[in-house]
C-alpha cells in the first residue's frame, strides 16, 4: 500500500460515495448535533435552575443525576437510551435515531447545566448585592442583572459544547443511525477500503469542528468587545 494508491483510492471513493459521506453522513451528524445542543441547552438550563432550588431534595437529586451522567461512559448511556426509551413509550414506536437523540440530549443537558452553573457563579457577587440592595427580588435580580452578564460566559462555552458533541455523535454509529461515522462503516463494508474511508471521514470531521470552533472564537471576541 503506497501513498499513491491510497490517494487514488480516496479519489475513487469520493467519486463513487461522495453523497454517502457529504450528504447523508454530514447531514445526519449535524442534525443529531443540533438536536442535542438545542434540547441539551434547554434541559441544562432547567437542571441549572433546579440546582438553585431552595428544596434540598431537588438539589440533591439533580446533582446526583448530573454526577452520574458525567461519571459514566457516553457509549453506555447510548446503549441505555437505545434499549430503554422504546420500552418506556412503546405506543410511540420510537426509532433508533430518536432513542439515541434522547440519550445524547440527556448527556449534553448534564454538561450544559454545569456550564450554566459556572457561568452564573462567575458573575461578581457584588452585582447581586447591589441589585438586592435596591429592593429587587431574587427572581428580578437573576433575570435583569445576573443572567444577562452570565450569558457572556455561557454562550462561548455552549459553542464549544457543540464542537464536542459533533465528535461525540460518532459513538452513535454503533447503532447505525446514519451519521458520518456510519458512512465510514457502510463504505468500508462495501469496498474493504477501511483506511481510505477513515481518512475521508476524519477530514470531514476536522473541517466541521475546526470551522465551527473558529466561528465560536470570533463570536467570543465580539462578546468581549462589548464589555
Amino acid at each position: 500500500m503506497t501513498f499513491t494508491t491510497v490517494f487514488q483510492n480516496i479519489i475513487k471513493l469520493l467519486a463513487k460515495y461522495w453523497d454517502v459521506f457529504l450528504v447523508k453522513g454530514v447531514s445526519v451528524t449535524l442534525a443529531l448535533s443540533a438536536i442535542t445542543v438545542v434540547f441539551g441547552a434547554v434541559l441544562g438550563a432547567l437542571l441549572a435552575l433546579m440546582r438553585r432550588s431552595h428544596l434540598g431534595v431537588i438539589r440533591f437529586l439533580v446533582t446526583a443525576f448530573v454526577e452520574f451522567i458525567r461519571g459514566t461512559p457516553m457509549l453506555l448511556q447510548l446503549y441505555v437510551g437505545y434499549f430503554i426509551v422504546p420500552l418506556l413509550f412503546p405506543a410511540l414506536e420510537i426509532g433508533t435515531f430518536a432513542s439515541i437523540s434522547v440519550a445524547l440530549v440527556i448527556n449534553s443537558g448534564a454538561y450544559v447545566s454545569e456550564i450554566i452553573r459556572s457561568g452564573i457563579q462567575a458573575v461578581d457577587i457584588g452585582q447581586t448585592e447591589a441589585a438586592r440592595s435596591l429592593g429587587l427580588t431574587k427572581g428580578m435580580t437573576m433575570r435583569k442583572v445576573v443572567l444577562p452578564q452570565a450569558v457572556k460566559n455561557i454562550l462561548p462555552a455552549l459553542g464549544n459544547e457543540f464542537v464536542t458533541i459533533i465528535k461525540e455523535t460518532s459513538l452513535a454509529s454503533t447503532f447505525f443511525v446514519g451519521d458520518l461515522m456510519t458512512s465510514y462503516l457502510i463504505v468500508k463494508g462495501a469496498t474493504y477500503l477501511a483506511f481510505e474511508s477513515l481518512i475521508i471521514v476524519g477530514a470531514i470531521y476536522f473541517v466541521l469542528t475546526f470551522s465551527l470552533s473558529k466561528l465560536v472564537g470570533a463570536f467570543e471576541r465580539r462578546l468581549k468587545q462589548s464589555d
Binding site: R132, S133, L136
Partner: protein
Amino acid sequence: MTDTVLIETRNLTKSFGGLQVLKGVDIQVHQGEAIAVIGPSGGGKSTFLRCLNLLETPDSGDVIFEGQKINQKGTDVDKYRQKMGMVFQHFNVFPHMTVQQNITLAPVLLKKQTKAEADAKALYLLERIGLLDKKDEYPRKLSGGQKQRLAIVRALAMEPDVMLFDEPTSALDPEMVGEVLSVIRALVEAGMTTVIVTHEMGFAREVSDRILFMADGVIVEQAAPADLLDHPQQPRTQEFLSKVL
C-alpha cells in the same frame, strides 16, 4: 436632625464560621442624622452596615427600621430595602446597562415610577452629579469616581429614607476621592439620613453628627466628631486614633 428613630439595632451578633464579628451592637440612627463609623479593619464596621439592610443576616438581635423589626421570618425584606439605599466600596454598577438604565432599572421594575418619570428623574440626578453627557455610555467608559457617583444616584433614584455607604472611597484613586465625597456631603446637607463606614477621618469630622468607633465587634465609643476625635475616652479609641491621625 429630628428625634425620630429611623433605624435601631438591639444586641446584634454575627459570626462567620467560628469568628464572631459582631458581639452585640446597639445603636439608634435618628432621622436626618449623619453617622460615620470608623475603626480598624476586621472590627465589624462593614458587617454591621450590611446587617442594617440584611445583606448579612444577623445571628441574633433585632434590626428595627421605621418601627418594624425586619429581621424575622415572613418579613418582606425587599420592601424595606427599597427605602435603604446602599453604596459599595467596589461600586457594583451594572456593566451591561447604560448609565441611565442603571438608574431607572429598579424604580421602573418595582413600579415606583413610570418609565417616563424614571427617565426624567435619572436625567435630573445625572445633571446634578455632572454626568448628564454620559447618560448613554456604558459604565466601562467611566472613571472610578464617576462609577461611584453613578452608584450613589442609582440608589437615590429609589428615593430612600436612609443611605448606607460602605467605604465608598476606599477603592478610588486619590484624585477621585474628593468628587465622591462632595456628592455625599451635598446629600447630608440636604438632610438625608446617612450611615457611612469610612477611613476618611477628615470627612467624618466635617460631615457627621456623630462618630461611632467600632473595634472587635462592639461599639467602643461614640460621640460628636470633635469629642471623639480630639478627646477619645477609651484606650482602644486612643490607640487607633494615634495611629491614623
